[in-house]
Structures are given as structure tokens and as C-alpha cells.
Symmetry: C2
Subunit: 456 residues, 2 copies
């Protein structure tokens, strides 16, 4: 049971989760006399604010991600461990991985984020994937592109229309950006690429339970976003609740009646909850949680009764100075991760850890090509200037200069040309076999246009 190699007498900081919170916590500790171990199930960090771009083919998956080892290669006090944390023994200060490996810590930073939540309707998951991981983005890309391929091959116009109806559930920033990008994909990118269908006739429907999209944003921007989306042809259904999701339908209720939207491509951006390890941490520490299960942290981001354990990022329920809940955006993870690292450094010097204060630097949402709505501390912006700002901010935070250069080029190109070069249908079900047989219902097996002419 002896440890080898890097055995250390220094303070051991173990960080679980390689998102914004975990990575910024690790980096902030680079000059501290500690040993840092960053644990993630994946070998890469995902730049989640641009996931919807990968989901619609505008950028490649590797453009919005970066190997964790590369990000930390020069930080000699940090190591990366590919592993899945499953349990926590706070009394022993020991973390357990899925393969039984135990890892001791002196300080622990938990930054494992959230996953899509279906409000207890887990059966909806297979019909309406969420957008939290790079695999999710690839899966959404696959489904959206296969829908157009199926419509192209579908001889029955009514069934073709079902294929060309895309439903996004949830009108927050993710759902709004995704709906806008799907509309751009259909109306601009795919234009001229099909011979039977006209992709610009596709319907993109954005369903939101409350009365407005981007709830919590200033009214001026909510209206601007709605206008931009409607110009792109997105049908916005606010005040509309999802009642059921199946393989070929989304049932919605607005007022008293239930309406069935026939679709084979539903996407979920409506709710989240902590991942399994985050829930396990809350349980093991008997920590207070909010409505969706986030851990309510102490002012310094530690967990009540466990000053050596910090929770940062989307897993943490944090309030700002006004008592408002800090939204789950990248800045929350970045700022909280840095704060937890500084709190650990202060404690090492026997100094008290200061309270966390969230600095609201605004929100940005890109709802279409050059169409951005921005909320800044002192002003609100829409249109092209907001887009330039959005571009700069996103490129600034994209880690690694190679990625930044390549993404900016690829992206500028795709914006100006409507091209989306990363439209690959890959994965287990990527080949034609994933499509339903054409004409399986009415006995016709001919392809429109290149069919059995001699038999006609």
C-alpha cells in the first residue's frame, strides 16, 4: 500500500472535474507550495459556451475542447488523473474512484457540474438529448443532420415534414442559441445541398414554459433576442409546457389544450441537476441543497462543517451581493475556482479565507450569425457590435493559442460563407442503417427522382 514516485509531504489539493471551475482552481495554485491532482473522466476540458456551435457543425469538437494535460503541462505541481470519482470519505479525507483507487487529500475542490434533468421523466432522455458534453454535441449534430437526410429520401411529403420539424425544449441561453443555430443550419448552410427537399422549409420550434425566453435577462434584450430568432424563422412558444416526449412527438400544453407537435428531433435544454458524484457529495456531507440539488455553500465556497472541502462551478448554489442566485455561466466557474484556490492558499498561511463575491461581467448570447444580445454591467447591446464583443470574449477564454487561432479562422469563415465544414455524421449509428427504411409504411421503396423509372 505504499505510494511511489511523487509521494509528497506538501499539502495535497485534489480537484474533481476539469471544467471551468476545476481548471481555474488548478491554475491559480500554480505558484503555491501544494501538490495538485486534477481528476476527470475525460482527458479534455470542454469550452461549454460554444458547445452549441459544435452541435450544429460550425466548429469541430476538438475546436471547443483542449487536452487537460496540455493545459497543465507547464504547471509542475499539478498532475492529471483520468478517472471517475464515485465516493467520498470525508472523515478519512479520502476520495474513491470507480476502480477502487483511493486518493487522499488535504483540501478537496468539487467541480463536477450538472447534467440534463428531465424532471423525473427519464424516459424522455433517449428522445430528447441534452447538450452538456462533447458527446452530446456530436449526438445532436448526428440527429439534426440525419433528419434532413431522411427527409431527402422520404417519398411521403407529410412524413418528410415531420423529419424537418426540430423542437428545442427550454428557452434559456443554451436553448436560445441552439434554436438560432439550427435555423441558420437549415436556412443558410444546407441551402442548395439537397435536391428533393428545401431545407429552409424546416421548422425550428423553441418551447419555453415561462412567459419569455432568456428569463432573468433585461426585457430590452429578451425582446431583441426574440426578434432576432423570429427573423431567422424560429417559432417561439413561450408559456408552453412539455407534457410528453416520444420518438415521433412532443406534446405541449399552452393554456387548457394539449397540442401534439410531430417531430423526430427533439432537443433538451430545459433543466439540469448535479451529476451522480455531486449528489453523492451532498449526501455524504449532509450538505444543504437548493431546489435542483446544487450544494448551498458557505460564504468562502466551502461546505458547512468541512472547511477543507470547496464546491465550485455549476454544482454550487451561490448568491451575489443582492441575494440573487448566480446563474450557471462560465464566469461562475472561473471566478469560484480561482476563489477556492486562493482560500486554500490563505489557509496554508493560517489566514482566514475571505468570502466569495461574484463579479457580474454580463451575459452574452449569440442567437444567429452576427446576431448577439449582450448584457453588460453598464449597458446592453445588440447586433453587430455585440457580436464583435462576443467573439472577442469567447476567443479570449478559449484556452490555448492554437485553438484560438484555428477556431477564429474556421469560424470567421463559416460565418461569412454559411459553411459548416464539420458536418460529420459519426458514431455507432452514423451510417445509413440509423435511418428508418424509406417507404416502409406504404410499401413504396423507390427513391424520389432516381427511382424505378422502367416500372413507372
Amino acid at each position: 500500500m505504499t505510494a511511489t514516485a511523487l509521494e509528497t509531504d506538501r499539502h495535497r489539493v485534489v480537484i474533481v472535474g476539469g471544467g471551468f471551475g476545476g481548471v481555474y482552481a488548478a491554475r491559480t495554485l500554480s505558484r503555491q507550495p501544494v501538490d495538485v491532482a486534477l481528476i476527470d473522466r475525460r482527458n479534455f476540458h470542454t469550452f461549454s459556451p460554444m458547445l452549441y456551435q459544435a452541435a450544429t457543425g460550425a466548429v469541430a469538437p476538438s475546436d471547443v475542447s483542449q487536452p487537460l494535460r496540455k493545459m497543465l503541462r507547464r504547471q509542475r505541481n499539478a498532475r492529471v488523473i483520468l478517472g471517475e470519482a464515485t465516493d467520498l470519505d470525508a472523515a478519512q479525507r479520502q476520495l474513491r474512484l470507480s476502480d477502487g483507487t483511493r486518493i487522499d487529500y488535504d483540501s478537496l475542490v468539487v467541480a463536477t457540474g450538472t447534467q440534463p434533468s428531465y424532471f423525473g421523466k427519464e424516459q424522455w432522455r433517449e428522445h430528447a438529448p441534452g447538450l452538456k458534453t462533447l458527446e452530446d454535441a456530436t449526438e445532436i449534430r448526428r440527429r439534426a443532420l440525419l433528419a434532413f437526410e431522411a427527409a431527402e429520401r422520404e417519398p411521403d411529403r407529410e412524413r418528410g415534414r415531420v423529419w424537418m420539424t426540430l423542437v428545442v425544449v427550454g428557452g434559456g441561453p443554451t436553448g436560445t442559441e441552439l434554436a438560432g443555430a439550427l435555423a441558420e443550419l437549415a436556412r443558410n448552410t444546407l441551402r442548395s445541398e439537397f435536391r428533393t427537399i428545401d431545407p429552409s422549409e424546416a421548422r425550428v420550434i423553441l418551447v419555453e414554459a415561462v412567459d419569455e425566453i432568456l428569463p432573468g435577462w433585461p426585457e430590452f434584450l429578451r425582446h431583441a433576442a426574440r426578434e432576432e430568432l423570429e427573423q431567422l424563422g424560429v417559432e417561439i412558444r413561450t408559456g408552453t409546457r412539455v407534457e410528453d416526449i416520444g420518438p415521433t412527438h412532443v406534446d405541449v400544453r399552452a393554456g387548457s389544450g394539449v397540442e401534439r407537435i410531430e417531430t423526430r428531433t427533439a432537443l433538451w435544454a430545459a433543466g439540469v441537476r448535479p451529476t451522480a458524484f455531486g449528489r453523492r457529495v451532498a449526501q455524504a456531507l449532509a450538505a444543504p441543497t437548493d431546489r435542483v440539488g446544487r450544494i448551498v455553500v458557505e460564504p468562502d465556497l466551502s461546505v458547512r462543517g468541512h472547511p477543507e472541502i470547496f464546491v465550485v462551478g455549476d454544482l454550487a448554489a451561490i448568491s451575489d451581493d443582492a441575494g440573487e442566485t448566480v446563474p450557471d455561466v462560465a464566469q461562475k466557474g472561473i471566478q469560484a475556482g480561482r476563489h477556492a484556490a486562493r482560500a486554500i492558499a490563505e489557509r496554508l498561511r493560517d489566514r482566514p479565507s475571505p468570502p466569495f463575491r461574484y463579479r457580474d461581467i454580463g451575459d452574452l448570447a449569440m442567437v444567429g450569425r452576427f446576431r448577439v444580445v449582450a448584457r453588460l454591467p453598464l449597458l446592453a447591446l445588440t447586433g453587430f457590435v455585440a457580436w464583435l464583443l462576443w467573439l472577442g470574449v469567447h476567443l479570449y477564454y478559449l484556452n490555448g493559442i492554437q485553438t484560438r487561432l484555428v477556431v477564429s479562422m474556421r469560424w470567421a469563415w463559416s460565418l461569412f460563407t454559411s459553411g459548416r465544414g464539420s458536418r460529420l455524421i459519426t458514431g455507432t449509428h452514423a451510417t445509413y442503417g440509423a435511418l428508418p427504411p424509406i417507404g416502409s409504411l406504404d410499401g413504396s421503396t423507390d427513391l424520389p427522382g432516381v427511382g424505378d423509372r422502367s416500372a413507372a
Copy 2:
């Protein structure tokens, strides 16, 4: 059974396969009075000469591929069909897809290429994947990167060495380039990224049954390639046959003795055979085939007895003017695809189709960063000048200017920095669960370096 929409009275050319042969055939027909349908199981073309770069993370999968619809969007007489051809009724001039769809043709171009062949040892496939598709590249990338992750977590040095032994079977251009790229990955890219292992201690072993790598190339270049590879630290085992491949070993025979190479990462670049549809075509047409099953075509690339059916690309066995077999390189597909299209155009005008003549414009192999060996019609090159040539040629043939720009940037960057930004471990088994539990054999479950210090 009536066809709709694009029903046509024009000559119908159906092309199966969206590789070099199929795409160049389709494009060459752009100004002809024909209707072209290009059928592929995938929605994208793969730039196969750079697959090994994607397999080692130097470029993203979408950098070496392009949506077929995008490539043909401006060609109004062409359409793309996502589908899998399974059978051929040459008497009815009808193609059948896996879902039962029938497609009539007047001329047929078969360009379905080859897949890895394991010489009847199909059980080797799961232990030693080949490199023919984009998914293959992602799988090889996953295995190679996971091997280093496993070695980093492996407390037992001997087992760690097994993880860090990579075996490439087959010393043709693919195997040679892959071995060189893996050595670069280990020695340059991954340097400084691990804390327990030193990736530059990894062994990359290239096994080739005949006496020299790059068989068929001029001796000067074969020696140059060997020298370059050896400088990179690749162990070249020529005159060495593979006897068995299992989950943790490759058994090889050189002379009389069998040696066991312990490895968990074997890759296959040793043999190919036609895909299932190509074999079906050969059978259905009773076409002559060569040793590995390629269809021996007539001088105009049609199939004996079927002047309306052309076979191009790797599926075709073609001889050059000197009677030598044309090797399976991109140029073979490009030139043959163009020729088949021209032959069809000539026939439409009741003119005879001319015989195909392969123009040997040389071979290029990149065996490492800036290390290229080039065989040209009039001269042979090695080193940096050859590399510049290689770069130009590959970028020229990469389809689409966006891809060309982005790839050249990403690539120049990765060459000069040894960075490989596309090192994502994705797919079904991409998470930590794909790794074997550490220490499962000796009862130790501690991680080197961050282990159970208090228990030590």
C-alpha cells in the same frame, strides 16, 4: 412504385462510394447531359492520405473530411444519397440498398474501395484495428492515448512498459507513416505532460513480413525512410511475420523462433480486401479478380461483359503501361474516376471509350515532422524540400478552401510546436471505465504519487 420529383429522361449515372474515385467521377460529369446519384454510407468524403494524422491527434477528424453534399452542392446534375448498397441486378440495371430501396442506372461506377484484411484471422481485428475510415482513426487515437493514461496510473513498472509498447503491423506507406507519427506523439507531443511516466520511453515497433519497409519503392528512399524512422526511435522489424495477436501480445516469427511482444496497443496496416459490396459485385458479374479480390477491369475500366459498369479506385486491379500493378494511392482513384466519367461521356456520343493510362506522378510518405520521402517521375527527394512538396500536394487535394486554410494553419502550428490539439478520447469507451482497474493483479489500489500516504 412511381418515382417523383426529379424523374428524368436523361442518362442516369449511379456512383457507389464517396472516396476519391467516386467524387472525381461525379465532378467530371458536371457538364454532361446526365443525372448523377452518388451513394455513400457516410455523409462525408475522407481525405485518406491524412488519416494517420487524425489517428495521432495532429488534425481533427473534420479537417480530413468534407461533407459530400457540400462538395457537390453547385453541381446541379448531381445528388447525394445516404445509403448502403448491398446488391446489384446487372440484368435489370438496378442497384439495391440495405433498406430495400432500388435504384435504376444506365451507367454504374463502383468505387467502394477496400477494408482491412486479416488473412483469415478475423479474431485479430478487435486487438489490432486498421486505418481505413475516420472512425478507425478516432479509435486508434483513443487506444494510443488511453495506453499512456493507463501507463501513468500503473504502479507496476513492468505492466507500465507493456502499456507503453505500440506495435504497427505492416510496413507500407500507411504503417510507415503511422509508426512515425506515433513516435512523434510519444517523444514530442506528450513530453512534459505526464508525471509518473516518461512518454519518450515508449517503444514503437514496426513489423513487416518482407525484407524492407515501403516495398516497391526505390531502394534509396526505402533506406532514407528507415533512417528517418530509426532517428525517431521506431524499432523496425523487417522479415518478420505476425503469428498471433491477442489482447496483450503480438507474436512474431523472424527466422525459426517465435518471439512474444507484450503490448496492449497493436495496429493493423498489413493487408486489405474489397468491402462486402465490392465482393458482391465481383460475384454477381462473375468478374475476374486478383489475389486479394480486386476486380480486374478492361482497358477502359469497365467490367468484362458489362460495358455500362465501371470499377475505379482501390477496388479495381489496374496495370500501368509497363504491366506493373498500380498501387492503391489517391491518384489511382482520382485518375480512374475521371477516366470512367469521360468514358461515359464519350459513349453518350456513340464514341468508343479510350483505354485508361495511369500517369505516375510519384509517391510521398511523411515519416515524421518535416521528414518526407518522395518518389517523383524524374527524381527522388528526402528531407525538408520533400516535406514542402508533400505539404503543397496534400493541401492542393484537400477539398474545399476552408478545410485547406484551417488544416494548413492547425498543422503548421502542430508541426512547429509538436502540439496536437485534437487529442480527444471520445466514443463509447472514452471515459475512464475503458481502462483496466489499476493494481487489479497485486492487490495494490493506490495511485503512484497521490496514494494513501497516511497508511504508508
